[in-house]
Structure formats: structure tokens, C-alpha cells
């Protein structure tokens, strides 16, 4: 039981919540606080689902944060400067994000560029594009666009619902659809997967396309939630998301992880972040603490694996 990261992480989160509820009874266990935590982790989780898919297959994408900024920036640019209908702008932004994912996947699988180098380079290229599109920030979007990220359903703001929907859909796909389950084979033993007839290159390419699309969706949700396209959006998101995914049970070697683990990893980080704010821990310490938590989580996992 203890070896399942989903179970241990869920138990840790539960324990953390119980302790905090006793320590801060009027501040922590409130609907306002929890909906805020969920809202803040929704964007990271949506991207983390895509990152989990990639990491199961043994690769990762460093350009996701830049794609988040690009997607919101392109939609904002089209709506604000060219009076494009908000739906057309969204389609264009998502198509652009897909294209970036496709270019990443194509250059990695067909040309053979190392995924870290390729996505690192793409991170810079796309961040530059976002800066060109968003400039000093774009505001005054159509009401309908802002509605997408600001409407509340049952008192929860829409990005939370999108997050749950995406986690549920991908959990279902990974459990029931052979195409997605093949990512585990690829991550566990790429050569064996190839010999057994799995189109490894094609599957990996699709992985980058999917993560590009999810980052694009996250970008649309973030910009509509903020009512602004910011060139700094998604900065550092790639590392947060990789941290969340590793906390959630993925391995840099591939072949491991569950979609719900991506959500739990992001939720754990969101709750720890919230606790640090509630306890007024300075920003200096926040990254140190999150770094230590990651080392502990992965270190303990390694010890358990060795004992096995």
C-alpha cells in the first residue's frame, strides 16, 4: 500500500489539512480558502496532466510555460488589435499551441534532437513570441472571453471545473484506451515497445502535440481568468509542473505515474504554498521549502524502492 504514491500523497495531503485545520481553524478550513487553493493550482494541474503523459513515456517538455503565455497572448492580440471574434481567437491560439507541440515532437522524433535541448530552445523562442504579442500586457477583452475563466459554477470558478474534467478524461483514457496505455510500454522499455510493433516515434510526437494543446488551454484559461494577457504568464511553470508530476509518482526514467498523481502533486504543492502564505513565511523560504519537500519525497521513494 505504502508503495503507491497516489495513496501516500493522498494521506499526506489529508494529514496536512487536518493539522492546519487545528492550527488555523478560522482561516484554513474555509470554502473561500479551498476554492482559492484549487483555483490557483488549476492551471498547473492542466499542464501537469500533459507533462505526466510525456514523463510516462520518458521525456519532458520545458516549453510549456512559454506556450501558456503564447496562447493567451495570441488570443489577446487577435481580439484586441484585430477585433477578431473571441471563438476564432481561441481556435487560433490553440492551433498555434498545437503547432508548437508538433514542431517540438517532429524535431525530437524525426531529426533526433535531444528533448531537453529542443524544448529549452523552444521555451526561449516562444517566450520571445509572447513578448512580441503581449508587449506591456493586453487587457479589455470581450466579456464573453473573460466569462470563460471567470464564471462560477456552484461557487467554484470555471478553471477548477476544467481541471477536474481534464484529469477525469485523461484518467479514463489511460485506464481504458490502448493508445494511451502504450506510453507505459514506451517509457519502460522503448526498444521492446518498438519491437512489439508500437510506433514509438509517432506516439512521442503525439505526446508533444497533446502537451502543447493542454498548455494552450491553460493559457486561454489563465488569460481569461486574469482578464489580461501577460508576457510573464507561465514563467517557471515548467519546473513547478515537473516537480508536481515527480511528487505525483512519475519517474525521470519513464514508465511510471498516474494522471491522478499529477493532480495530487499539484494539489500538495498548492496546499504547501497556501500554508506558507497563511503562516506568513517569507518568499525567500518558500522555494527552499518546496525544494526540500521534493528531495524528501523522491529520496523516500528511492529508499522504499531499494527495500523492495
Amino acid at each position: 500500500m505504502i508503495k503507491d504514491r497516489v495513496v501516500t500523497l493522498s494521506a499526506t495531503i489529508l494529514l496536512l489539512c487536518i493539522v492546519m485545520s487545528f492550527l488555523f481553524p478560522s482561516q484554513f478550513p474555509t470554502v473561500d480558502n479551498f476554492s482559492q487553493i484549487m483555483l490557483n493550482l488549476s492551471i498547473d494541474t492542466i499542464v501537469a496532466v500533459g507533462m505526466m503523459l510525456l514523463m510516462i513515456s520518458g521525456v519532458f517538455d520545458l516549453s510549456v510555460g512559454s506556450i501558456v503565455a503564447f496562447s493567451g497572448g495570441l488570443a489577446g492580440y487577435l481580439m484586441y488589435y484585430h477585433d477578431v471574434n473571441f471563438l476564432v481567437a481561441i481556435v487560433a491560439a490553440l492551433s498555434g499551441s498545437l503547432l508548437i507541440g508538433f514542431i517540438n515532437g517532429f524535431l525530437i522524433t524525426k531529426i533526433g534532437i535531444n528533448p531537453m535541448i529542443q524544448t529549452l530552445a523552444m521555451m526561449g523562442v516562444v517566450r520571445g513570441l509572447s513578448l512580441m504579442l503581449s508587449g506591456a500586457g493586453i487587457q479589455n477583452f470581450p466579456y464573453e472571453y473573460n466569462y470563460i475563466g471567470q464564471v462560477k459554477i456552484l461557487s467554484l470558478q470555471s478553471p477548477i471545473w476544467y481541471m477536474f474534467a481534464i484529469v477525469l478524461i485523461f484518467s479514463y483514457l489511460f485506464k481504458n484506451i490502448a493508445f494511451f496505455r502504450r506510453y507505459y510500454f514506451i517509457g519502460s522499455n522503448e526498444k521492446a515497445a518498438h519491437l512489439s510493433g508500437i510506433e514509438v516515434e509517432k506516439m512521442k510526437l503525439w505526446g508533444f502535440v497533446i502537451v502543447g494543446l493542454l498548455a494552450g488551454i491553460a493559457g486561454i484559461l489563465l488569460s481569461s481568468r486574469l482578464g489580461a494577457a501577460l508576457s510573464t504568464s507561465g514563467k517557471g511553470l515548467e519546473l513547478r509542473v515537473i516537480t508536481a508530476v515527480i511528487l505525483g509518482g512519475a519517474s525521470l526514467a519513464g514508465g511510471q505515474g498516474k494522471i491522478v498523481g499529477a493532480f495530487l502533486g499539484a494539489a500538495f504543492m498548492g496546499i504547501v504554498g497556501n500554508i506558507l502564505i497563511l503562516t506568513r513565511v517569507s518568499g525567500y523560504w518558500q522555494e527552499i521549502i518546496l525544494g526540500i519537500i521534493l528531495i524528501l519525497a523522491v529520496g523516500i521513494d528511492q529508499l522504499i524502492q531499494k527495500k523492495k
Binding site: N33, Q36, A136, G137, A228, T232, K235
Partner: protein
């Protein structure tokens, strides 16, 4: 059976639609005080907490000026000062921090006006009845109770005027800072509006040093190679000046490439004294947070009241906007600023 399914399906959607709460149609900049009762108290308590929401929380300029003045003010007043925000320049993270503190209803918010994207969360705090002051740069679309800070366009204009003066109205110039930041873009514009009045001044371009000394130095070095007749560089973030100065020194171009920049940290002052930097335009940052916090305190404690109930009457009992002005430093007065 199918009709029951269809009915249930319709019911589900009706419930879903009725559970939807649409965002307000206007994010407007109007005064919303009629609908917002500010939480006020008569006695000062040590638990009375004023929260500064910023970003890049460890930036030396913020630590040494904004945060130091805020902490000193809190100590003097016997209240609690908390400083929250991400360690990197990360606006969504600043917003996320802000949103998580609003439900805790602190005595007041002192918000670093970093980007127009924070307007909505500022309005959220105002709507929650929490006194809110924005400092440094004004935020379009935000309904904060007061703004205190610099006029970045004016800071750019001042740099432009000085650059024209020291170059006798001719030569190639560039600007450097963080591209995309609203306040810096306003500064660039102020600089350019002056430069374009002088036909013999040639503007080469805007460069992004990402508030990084090494990058500012590298860009300047490349510019000196590409334009051996480069006459002047204007910096707009705290690290632009030291980076530009480093390259100008290394290229033995002191005095040949003129430098104007923002901020007046000890390293900037030393470079002015050495004659590497020609002109500094500094901000009165201590005033932002010290006066800003005092305004929050005055609102909460109704220090000055203009009616029986200012909130109901739609009166904000503090100044709507304070521009603190700039500090101009060159070789003639630099010694007065060196501690």
C-alpha cells in the same frame, strides 16, 4: 424511458445554469465605495496586520527601500507588517498570493503596482472592504483607494532631456530595461518623445536586459561593437545602469558613451562619482510604502472623517493619487547621497 432520460438531462442543465454565477460585465474604474463598507476600528492592536503584496521579493531595491520603510513604519505604529509574494518576477504568482490573503481580511493591503494584470484582484480586495493602496506604478482599471508612486513617463522624459543635453542634441542612443513591463514601456516612451524632437539624435532600439547585470553588460558590449559611434545608453531597471557601466568601462569608452539610468543604489552612486554614469533619476521609494501604509492606517482608524460615514457617503478619506516625484543625481550632487 427515453423521455425520462431526456427530462433528467434537461433538469441537470437547468440546475447547472442556475448554479452559474457570471462575472460582472464591467471591470470599470469607477468608485465602488457606495457598495463597500470599509472595516474600521478605534483601537490599535499589535495583531493589526498590514500586508505588502509584491513580486521579486528579494530584489535589493525592494528590500532596502520599500520593505525597510514599511517595517520601520509598522514598528513605530505598533502594528504587524507582513511582506508576501514570489521570489521571482512572477505576476500570476503575485496574484495567486494576493487572492489567498484576501479571505483573511487583513487591516490593509499595500500592493506593488507591477502589471495591469493585477487590476482584478485589487478590485476584489476593495470589494471585500479592505483598505487598499497601490504603490510604485498605477494600474489601469484598478479601483484601489489610493495610488502613490512615480510617473514613469516623466522619468523617461527626464532621462531623454538630460541625454540630449550631454550629447548636444546629436548621436546614436539606445534604451535598455525589461521589455513588456508597463512602467518601463511608459519610461521608454517618455525618453523617445524627447529624442524624436531632435533630428540629429538617432534612436537605435529597445533592448531587454531582463533586470540582469550580466545581460545588460553583454548587450552593451555587442552594441558598442555593432555601433562604434554609439553615443548614449539609457537604463530603466535597477540592474541596467551597473551592467551598461561595466561594458563601457571594459571597452574604455568612459565619457564617450554617455549613460543615464534609473535608481540610486550605492553602486549607481559610486559609478556617478567615478564619472562612468552621467545621470541618475531615482525614485522616492521609502515614501511609497511609509505614506502608503499610513494612508491604510488612517482609513482603518478613520483618522480624518469628512462625513458621518465616509464609506456610505462615497468619500475616500485619503488622497486618490500621490506622485512623489523624482530625485535627480549627477556628479555635482552625488556626494550628498553617498552614505
Amino acid at each position: 424511458m427515453n423521455s425520462i432520460k431526456a427530462l433528467l438531462f434537461k433538469l441537470f442543465f437547468i440546475v447547472l445554469l442556475s448554479a452559474c454565477e457570471a462575472p460582472p460585465r464591467t471591470g470599470g474604474s469607477g468608485n465602488n465605495l457606495h457598495s463597500t463598507e470599509i472595516i474600521t476600528v478605534d483601537t490599535v492592536s499589535a495583531n493589526e496586520e498590514y500586508v505588502m503584496i509584491t513580486t521579486a521579493i528579494n530584489m535589493p531595491m525592494y528590500v532596502n527601500h520599500d520593505q525597510a520603510a514599511f517595517k520601520m513604519w509598522a514598528k513605530k505604529m505598533g502594528v504587524k507588517a507582513s511582506i508576501l509574494g514570489p521570489s521571482e518576477w512572477d505576476i500570476p504568482a503575485q496574484i495567486a498570493t494576493f487572492e489567498q490573503v484576501i479571505p483573511q481580511k487583513p487591516a490593509g493591503f499595500l500592493v506593488n503596482g507591477t502589471d495591469p494584470g493585477i487590476a482584478q484582484v485589487i478590485n476584489k480586495a476593495v470589494d471585500a472592504g479592505i483598505p487598499t493602496v497601490v504603490y510604485d506604478s498605477d494600474i489601469p482599471g484598478a479601483r484601489q483607494h489610493s495610488f502613490i508612486g512615480s510617473d514613469w513617463y516623466e522619468m523617461g522624459r527626464l532621462q531623454g532631456e538630460r541625454m540630449v543635453k550631454i550629447l548636444n542634441g546629436k548621436g546614436k542612443v539606445v534604451v535598455m530595461g525589461i521589455l513588456g513591463m508597463t512602467n518601463m514601456e511608459a519610461g521608454f516612451q517618455g525618453f523617445l518623445d524627447v529624442i524624436k524632437k531632435y533630428p540629429a539624435m538617432e534612436f537605435i532600439g529597445k533592448y531587454d536586459d531582463k533586470a540582469n547585470v550580466e545581460l545588460a553588460a553583454k548587450i552593451t558590449a555587442d552594441l558598442i561593437v555593432a555601433h562604434p559611434d554609439l553615443a548614449g545608453v539609457a537604463g530603466f531597471d535597477g540592474n541596467s545602469g551597473p551592467g551598461i557601466a561595466l561594458s563601457v568601462k571594459e571597452a574604455n569608452k568612459i565619457g564617450k558613451v554617455k549613460i543615464t539610468t534609473v535608481d540610486a543604489e550605492p553602486e549607481h552612486l559610486q559609478l556617478v562619482k567615478e564619472g562612468v554614469i552621467d545621470y541618475l533619476v531615482g525614485q522616492k521609494r521609502e515614501l511609497f510604502t511609509q505614506m502608503g501604509a499610513q494612508m491604510l492606517f488612517d482609513m482603518r482608524h478613520k483618522t480624518i472623517a469628512f462625513s458621518k460615514n465616509d464609506a456610505k457617503a462615497g468619500v475616500v478619506p485619503i488622497p486618490k493619487k500621490i506622485i512623489t516625484g523624482s530625485i535627480e543625481i549627477d556628479k555635482s550632487n552625488v556626494d550628498l547621497f553617498i552614505k
